[in-house]
């Protein structure tokens, strides 16, 4: 099961957004956050399915709460990032940075 420590691009995005939203991460806020910060339209269904998958992998955990009138009295499933999730994000970021350091210095020519 070596692949569990690997995240796809979309999974990484969701995980990061959950981290950003801190205490207010559930389906809809994640969709709007991605729209706001990345200007990218994503499906509610793909967000949910990714959230559940990340939870199954142990990078997220969830609890129910916060029913509102607008939701017809349904509770929200709030997601929080786990330590494993944070560590993985950090690890991926470091890996990318170290790779970037290996690239030749880019020189921008001026006209």
């Amino acid at each position: 099961m070596g692949r569990t420590n690997f995240l796809g691009e979309f999974e990484e995005l969701i995980l990061t957004v959950v981290l950003i939203l801190n205490d207010d991460a559930y389906g809809n806020t994640i969709v709007s956050a991605i729209k706001e910060h990345q200007n990218r339209e994503v499906n509610l269904s793909s967000v949910h399915i990714t959230l559940y998958r990340l939870e199954e992998k142990g990078f997220l955990q969830s609890d129910m709460g916060g029913a509102t009138q607008a939701r017809g009295g349904r509770r929200k499933r709030y997601f929080r990032i786990t330590n494993a999730g944070k560590a993985l994000l950090q690890e991926m970021k470091d890996a990318r940075t170290s790779l970037w350091e290996l690239t030749p210095q880019l020189k921008f020519s001026h006209e």
């Binding site: 809809n28 269904s45 399915i49 349904r74 499933r77």
Partner: protein, 876 residues
């Protein structure tokens, strides 16, 4: 709560809750509603609803939907393997039931497949033509334009209509005409035969129909006069393995024709067929006038239209064509256009070029297929529910261990699937083995290739799934519903819950069997009835010699007749153009009505000599027969039948005598009326007929009434006499009654196919009954033991066991009688002369069903009744 109309559609939410994984329903639904609110504020209600609908559709994905079986911990594959294993173990443990089940189902499935093959063949007619979709034919009719019903359309029509279409419409690609089949004497080397099925055909034959030319050039083979194209089998008959192309054959003892091609035999699923084609130019050079008149009927006209053109534009301009081309004929002639795809099953035009199929027969057969399959499914359901008690413990234990109801349903469905699949495979083998048998009884060439087509494989797999689910669902639902506590405590002994259903199913089975049996009886009684029907003339011992318009015979007709009369086996001889059951034309005929006007009608015509009516022992109801005492008869006399007299307005036949007539360039007076006789099959009423005094040149057949009963001796003697009298032509003869009854060949075949499948249905129903009897006697073994100990006799016990069935049988009878009466009355409408269904038919069907069922049951009941009660009572 806010008002309902502001909310998303409720049914979508219900749908969502149904398909969504239960763990996720609440939060996703909340998110959805929140987004809906937001969208509604932003874009309005209707947009929001549409958006909501799309969201829900997008949620239909594997990760989010409810799993099919609630097997969270165990891999479903392993369980399915286990179910299959259990299914096989169960089958092996209960061998008798398994054999009954598999036998019933496989026979049922095999029957359905065979019927499907047959139906598929019926539906495949003419589809071998590449231009099938854009091939049409012309139907013509003559009548009075002010009386639209006087036009009776027929396929057989005049010559110029085809070329007129071609000339008028650029969309028409090719026009192909052929004539009705005629006998020809063909000779080559030492071989000389009379061929019955030869046509004149246009050179466009191979452009319109996709017949393959094996030797010779399809473009030019039928262009020159006196050329002939043989079919493969005819070529083999005359030339063996030699190449016939370029060879010469002698036609009718005088004309040399060149063989210009050999084509494949006409496919068996073609709506007409012939053995050879002679070029149309041969006909044209002999009788050019025929090709310009709109009044001479002898052609079947087919044509193709160019791709992507519309036939409607041609149909709408038919009056235009008649106006431009038909001249005076436009006042009494009209034509229609029919797609060739309608030719075999959907055409009700008269004078078809070949036998047509029957849509109602196809429906009948499909009904039988459904019945047989249904009976087999019911067997399966009955046997499995009956055995429910035995499996109750298993179900209970499974439930206690933690099986869900859904998984139990899955288990039983898989079990029934295994049995159905096994039966299906067995059925396929049965089908392959029995197709030749079906070919014999149906008289059709059936192709097994269809079994390899994706279409069939799709139907087969779909059918197996359907039958599996249909017959497995009830047991699955019942068995999986058992309350484990009850069963394990022992409170659950009999499966009384299923008894009512089981009994109703048995009623259905036997009602179906009785319907099929009544059907078979009616079909056979009707066929017997038409064969023995009083036709209006004596068809016994009537030998018909067909000399195919041989001019030498015609020339010496009188002499030949006299010589034949001298033969000790011959009682009477008559010459004519046609005899009952054979081909005859119609003739436009004017006869004076009571007001003195000449009315034009088109009755059928027989050309006969003065011996014809006495030879056939027909009855003259008014006037007189043709006679040599009236020499003018040959020029100015006509006899009609009663139906024709009515047609011209004379219900009393006496009144038409002496009226003027005008027919085919002959005028004079009606001299006699003959009693109606059946000259076509009994499917049709007797139509108006005119009998005209023939000249020798218009005869082609001799009818010989034989004296002796020693038919073979008579035949041999007449044949040798014929060789002396007519050395140039072999004698071709038929017995009239035989030939007349050949018209019912299709009906006979229908009868035999129908009876075979009804028999099989009965057989399967009996298998099921046997299974149920085995089961119920096993259940009641103790009861029977006690009854015997208390002094019941064997007879009483057998009666006791059979009575419960007899009750069901009586109910089935009540259902089946009115249903089958209705259906079979519909079928009898096909015949103008039919039996009325009497009580005898039902009584017979009921008796057969009852007796067969009781015998079947007795296999088990008797052995149980005879058994020593000690055996059933000793344990426990």
């Amino acid at each position: 709560m806010e008002k309902n109309h502001k909310y998303p559609p409720k049914y979508l939410l219900i749908l969502f809750r149904w398909f969504c994984h239960p763990d996720f329903v609440e939060d996703i639904e909340g998110d959805l509603l929140e987004r809906f609110e937001y969208k509604r504020g932003e874009k309005g209600l209707s947009r929001a609803r549409w958006f909501f609908f799309l969201e829900i559709l997008k949620l239909l994905r594997p990760g989010l939907i409810r799993p099919l079986f609630r097997t969270n911990s165990i891999l479903p594959n392993a369980m399915i393997k286990n179910y299959i294993k259990i299914a096989f173990r169960n089958m092996v443990r209960h061998k008798a039931f398994s054999v009954l089940n598999v036998a019933g189902l496989s026979v049922g499935i095999a029957c359905s497949i065979l019927i499907m093959i047959y139906v598929q063949n019926e539906l495949s007619y003419d589809k071998y033509n590449e231009k099938y979709e854009r091939t049409y034919r012309v139907l013509g009719a003559y009548g009075n334009p002010s009386v639209p019903s006087s036009f009776e359309y027929q396929v057989w029509g005049c010559a110029p209509v085809g070329p007129a279409l071609k000339q008028e419409f650029p969309q028409v690609e090719d026009v192909f005409r052929f004539t009705s089949a005629e006998p020809w004497l063909i000779a080559t080397g030492d071989k000389k035969f009379q061929e019955e099925n030869i046509v004149f055909a246009d050179s466009t034959a191979f452009d319109v129909f996709s017949w393959k030319m094996m030797k010779g050039n399809p473009e030019t083979a039928l262009v020159r006069p006196n050329t002939i194209v043989f079919t493969e089998s005819l070529a083999k008959k005359y030339f063996g393995d030699e190449n016939p192309v370029g060879q010469t054959v002698i036609m009718e003892n005088k004309d040399p024709f060149e063989v210009t091609g050999v084509m494949e035999d006409i496919p068996s699923n073609s709506h007409f067929s012939f053995d050879a084609m002679i070029s149309m130019s041969t006909f044209q050079s002999r009788r050019p006038s025929v090709f310009t008149t709109w009044d001479y009927v002898d052609f079947y006209t087919y044509f193709t239209i160019k791709p992507e053109t519309d036939i409607a534009s041609i149909i709408s301009q038919i009056p235009q064509v008649l106006e431009n081309h038909a001249g005076n004929a436009k006042n009494y002639y009209n034509f229609q256009i029919e797609p060739v795809s309608d030719a075999y099953l959907y055409s009700d035009a008269l004078r078809q070029p070949g036998p047509t199929g029957s849509l109602s027969n196809i429906y009948m057969f499909l009904t039988v297929a459904v019945f047989v399959l249904l009976i087999a499914c019911i067997n399966f359901m009955n046997l499995s529910t009956a055995r429910a008690v035995e499996r109750a413990k298993e179900v209970a234990i499974r439930k206690v261990i933690g099986s869900f109801r859904t998984t139990l349903i899955a288990q039983f469905l898989i079990e029934s699937m295994v049995i159905v699949l096994l039966s299906g495979i067995l059925a396929l083998f049965t089908v392959i083995l029995s197709v030749p048998f079906l070919e014999v009884i149906s008289g059709k060439e059936l192709s097994v290739e269809w079994l390899m087509s994706p279409q069939f494989i799709g139907i087969f797999i779909g059918g197996i799934l359907l039958v599996g689910i249909l017959s497995g669902s009830y047991p699955a639902l019942v068995l999986s519903n058992f309350k484990p506590a009850k069963v394990l405590k022992g409170a659950f002994k009999t499966s009384s819950s299923g008894t009512l259903l089981r009994q109703s199913l048995v009623v259905v089975q036997f009602a179906l069997s009785i319907i099929l049996l009544v059907g078979t009886t009616v079909v056979f009684t009707q066929l017997d009835f038409i064969r023995n029907y009083e036709l209006g003339y004596d068809s016994q011992q009537m030998l018909v010699v067909d000399y195919g318009w041989d001019p030498k015979v015609q020339k010496h007709l009188k002499y030949i007749k006299n010589e034949l009369l001298k033969n000790e086996h011959v009682e009477a001889v008559a010459a004519s153009r046609a005899v009952p059951g054979f081909f005859f034309p119609d003739a436009g005929t004017k006869i004076e009505n009571e007001q003195g006007e000449m009315i034009m009608r088109s009755p059928a015509i027989y050309e006969i000599d003065d011996d014809f009516i006495p030879t056939y022992k027909m009855e003259i109801v008014a006037g007189r027969n043709f006679s040599r005492d009236f020499p003018a008869d040959s020029a100015n006399s006509l006899i009609v039948n009663e139906a024709a007299a009515k047609l011209y307005g004379y219900p009393n036949p006496e009144d038409i005598i002496g009226k003027q007539f005008d027919q085919w360039n002959r005028t004079g007076h009606v001299v006699g009326v003959v009693k109606d006789f059946n000259y076509v099959s009994l499917h049709d009423r007797i139509e108006p007929l005119s009998l005209r005094y023939s000249t020798a040149e218009t005869t082609s057949m001799l009818s010989l009434r034989l004296k002796s009963n020693d038919i073979s001796k008579a035949l041999a003697s007449i044949d040798s006499q014929w060789q002396e009298l007519v050395p140039q032509r072999p004698m071709v003869s038929y017995f009239l009654d035989q030939n007349f009854n050949d018209q019912y060949e299709a009906d006979d075949r229908f009868g035999s196919v129908f009876s075979v499948f009804s028999g099989i249905a009965m057989f399967i129903a009996c298998l099921g009954l046997l299974g149920l009897t085995i089961y119920s006697t096993a259940q009641r073994a103790k009861e029977i033991g006690i009854r015997k100990v208390l002094g019941a006799s064997v007879g009483q016990i057998v009666r006791l066991l059979s009575m419960s069935f007899v009750k069901l049988f009586l109910i089935a009878l009540c259902v089946a009688v009115p249903l089958s009466w209705y259906v079979m009355n519909e079928w009898l409408q096909n015949f103008a002369y039919s039996i009325s269904i009497g009580w005898g038919v039902f009584a017979m069907a009921a008796m057969i069903t009852l007796v067969v069922s009781l015998i079947t049951m007795s296999f088990k009941t008797v052995s149980v009744a005879v058994a020593n009660p000690v055996k059933s009572l000793k344990d426990e």
